[in-house]
């Protein structure tokens, strides 16, 4: 787990404060984008009738994902502990290949770039990228 410096944590919290209001929309858009741009990710959602942007399942699930990211922001000082339940979910039930966490992280960052171009500076970008890598590590902790 890369150590998040105090500077990183402050940068992520500052960015989150700006984007939190639009979290639901960001989540839905990022998920839709992931399914469209990286079609191999659709394999995890074969049980959904509609995988298109704006569909019920995608919108609802995007919201759920962002709630998870929000939780991670709140539990930034102890991601392993704070994300324990989600970690067990991903390890024992969902079993999402960890490579996909990076893909979703990229999509989240693209969406944030389109919606908040002035706030998503290179400094904010590196802090968020580090943070999301750590979240991914915490989520895959229980895999083996």
């Amino acid at each position: 787990m890369t150590l998040l410096t105090e500077k990183d944590k402050a940068a992520v919290k500052a960015l989150w404060a700006k984007i939190a209001k639009g979290a639901d929309a960001i989540g839905a858009e990022a998920l839709a984008r992931m399914l469209a741009v990286y079609p191999q990710t659709k394999t995890y959602f074969s049980h959904w009738p509609d995988l298109s942007a704006g569909s019920g399942p995608v919108t609802k699930h995007g919201k759920k994902i962002m709630a998870g990211v929000g939780l991670a922001v709140a539990k930034m000082d102890d991601l392993s502990g704070g994300l324990l339940e989600l970690s067990e979910l991903h390890a024992f039930q969902l079993r999402v290949d960890p490579a996909n966490f990076k893909i979703l992280a990229q999509c989240l960052q693209v969406v944030i770039a389109t919606m908040f171009p002035n706030d998503f500076t290179p400094e904010a970008h590196v802090a968020l990228d580090k943070f999301l890598s750590n979240v991914a590590l915490a989520l895959s902790e229980k895999y083996r």
């Binding site: 990286y38 770039a113 389109t114 919606m115 998503f120 500076t121 400094e123 590196v126």
Partner: protein, 147 residues
């Protein structure tokens, strides 16, 4: 041979006609050096890369951003055979510059984020998909001559 749909062709041409090469090239390379600092290993002669401010204002970074965009433009102009168009560039990166090809994806991700920031809502998921495919072909072509 890579097959491009009409939409994909149009989307790629559109992106490259709209973006400011000087701004995007510099911004993408800067972001890559800032977000993935290990990539700085290839730019030892560029002088001051100590922090984000130094990187974004470094004239060698800006100049090299332009070189990268010129390279991408070659691919845009030869979309039906990027592999052959990039043969010499691939040899250059593997034999002379000795760049780990995994780094190409890092720069590609940063370029996507910069273009997304420039285009805003116009960078729809479909346009994003076309751009991602284009960059995947570019990266694969640059990897081709690594042995």
């Amino acid at each position: 041979m890579v097959k491009w749909s009409d939409f994909e062709r149009a989307a790629i041409q559109d992106i490259f006609s709209k973006i400011n090469y000087d701004v995007v090239g510099c911004a993408a390379l800067s972001r890559c050096l800032i977000v993935y600092p290990w990539t700085q290993r290839y730019f030892g002669s560029f002088g001051n890369l100590y922090n984000a401010a130094a990187i974004t204002s470094n004239p060698k970074v800006a100049a090299h951003g332009k070189v990268i965009m010129a390279g991408l433009e070659k691919a845009v102009k030869n979309m039906d055979d990027i592999k052959t168009t990039y043969k010499d560039l691939s040899v250059l990166h593997s034999e002379k510059l000795q760049v780990d090809p995994d780094n190409f994806n890092l720069l590609a991700d940063c370029l996507t984020i910069v273009v997304a920031g420039q285009m805003g809502a116009a960078f729809t998921p479909e346009v994003h998909g076309a751009f991602q495919k284009f960059l995947a072909v570019v990266v694969a072509s640059l990897r081709k001559q690594y042995h």
